[in-house]
Amino acid sequence: MLKVTDLTINFSGLKAVDSLNFEIEKGEVFGLIGPNGAGKTTTFNMISGTLKPTSGAVELNGKRIDGNYMYQTNRLGVARTYQNINLFRSMTVLENILVGQQSRLECGLLAAVLRTSKQRKEEARAVEKASEILNFVGMEQKENSYSNSLSYGEQRILEIARALASDPILLILDEPAAGMNPTEKNQLADLVLRIRKKGITILLVEHDMKFVMGITDRICVLNYGKRIALGTPAEVQADPAVIEAYLGGG
């Protein structure tokens, strides 16, 4: 469903990502790993619309999405989380999720000014849906807490919940387990698998190898912007190029 072809980006001469190719199948959990500076987040940013690639293409179900603005890509069904948490800090947990639904709500300015019955019904449905999502991720207790009062792990979960609110077909998670304790990591792994059960395809970057190997179907390994391996977790772990990239060649 997501096809990345010859994706390349130049940062004033430095090829941060160099002719990257991979394809993600519908319904799989796809991992993108590599040492620091390998170009993982840069790849994410090109897929989600933060960065425009120098050359190459990103296609979602056959439709080019590279060079889109983030809000356009979001409307097409790609939602993401961020490596550095980007929540709406002065909003409550519920409000954060309501903003997440932005792409799926229709009532415009005039309907808002007049508070038409259609608009009020849509708002009520949106709140209901937000509560369902909070139940799904297990944060229903925190509904009215301000997002800046949450713990680090909870903030990461809230980012996922906010991304889910836009009914994505592809969910992009940028280091979802960073800063989490082992219990939280287990809960996160469980959540990722439950999201996948809903039929949502997942693309994730993560440094915690145990976490990645445990939940992904296939993994693409990057080093210096180039793909050095692609396959199931077992295949990738056995690949000599991967071992060299991580441990350094003698």
Partner: protein, 345 residues
């Protein structure tokens, strides 16, 4: 009945209703010589407070909710005032060149729409700018509007200004400040309530959440499907409509306009009102407009030194009460809850 119960169930609605009731009671008390002895001056002051409330609420949409600074909102005030006067005056503008005039209330609405359109046009370049670059652009916009009305003397009579601005009347019922004292007050009160309700509706909708999302985190807002550029344009346009409408109400109340009213200082006064009252909420602009208008009248004798006083005001507020006066109530209730909670535990 159920609906009425629902309205009064929320504390905020209760406060809103109580304040409106008080504002309706004021003229009753004044006419019966209980307070202020039917003073025309007090009515004028109350009307000014109302007009500034509308303007400051408009500024709040851009500044408080969308998080975009503007030091040029007097430019929109100017468009509303001059626009409405030129559309409704028999000796100037439309009346002078075409021989037709719009009735004053329709002219205010048209001028406010014009302000909104210009606000949207300004937002096109402004949507790419942040912080000090945006403030410079908005200052330039204010200056531009001022130069236009000051220099197109054939159209606007330049610095001499336009007198005998027609008064608002609806179906022969006249709203003026000369023969009747409280008519204009009720007209302004009606529009203040209307504009505050509309603002409340907007900020509690999908659109308003988009505005707040932009203020909180542009990148995340974009990722959530908020089209940053079109939302900023919308925010500026709505804001300009509010301020333009307030400008029209001002012109038809005072009966005289000249460029001096729309100088940069006026924009700074709007910002002062908003910061003083507290931005990003309903009550802030009301409190700010009321307090600063009264202070402004009290400091009339200081003339140009008033700006110095405002400067000190802004400094004190930003340093010690960044949430403004309306933030105080939150602080106090939080303090009571904390100390009360301590006793219970």
């Amino acid at each position: 009945m159920e609906k009425i119960k629902q309205i009064f169930s929320s504390k905020r609605n209760l406060v809103f209703t109580a304040v409106v009731a008080l504002l309706i009671l004021i003229p009753v008390m004044m006419e019966n010589n209980i307070i202020f002895k039917q003073s025309k001056y007090v009515y004028l002051l109350l009307c000014l407070i109302g007009i500034y409330t509308i303007a400051t609420s408009g500024l709040d949409i851009v500044f408080g909710y969308t998080g975009q600074i503007s030091f040029g909102h007097a430019g929109f005030f100017c468009i509303g005032a001059y626009g409405s006067v030129l559309l409704s005056h028999s000796e100037w503008g439309l009346g002078k060149y075409m021989g037709v005039t719009l009735p004053p209330l329709a002219s205010i609405l048209t001028a406010a729409v014009l302000a909104a359109v210009i606000g949207a046009l300004l937002a096109f370049p402004a949507s790419k700018l942040v912080f000090h670059f945006l403030s410079l652009l908005t200052i330039a916009f204010n200056q531009l509007m001022l130069l236009v009305v000051a220099n197109f003397a054939g159209l606007t009579n330049g610095y001499v200004g336009i007198t005998r601005v027609p008064q608002i009347s609806i179906f022969g019922f006249s709203f003026n400040t000369v023969s009747s004292k409280y008519n204009y007050y009720f007209l302004v009160l009606f529009f203040v309530i209307l504009f505050l309700i509309i603002k409340e509706n907007i900020v509690h909708s999908r659109i308003g959440r988009g505005f707040i999302a932009i203020r909180e985190n542009v990148m995340a807002a974009n990722g959530c499907g908020v089209n940053i550029k079109s939302y900023k344009i919308m925010s500026f346009a709505i804001s300009a409509f509010y301020v333009g409408f307030a400008g029209g109400l001002y012109a038809h109340m005072v009966g005289f306009i000249s460029p001096d009213t729309f100088v940069q200082n006026t924009s700074v006064i709007f910002i002062t009102m908003l910061l003083f009252g507290g931005s990003g909420n309903l009550a802030g602009p009301v409190i700010g407009a009321a307090v600063i208008t009264v202070i402004q009248e009290g400091l009339q004798s200081l003339s140009d030194y008033r700006m110095l006083v405002y400067g000190i005001f802004i400094l004190i507020i930003i340093l010690f009460q960044p949430q403004g006066i309306s933030g105080l109530s939150k602080d106090i209730s939080g303090f009571i809850r904390r100390s009360g909670g301590g006793k219970r535990a």
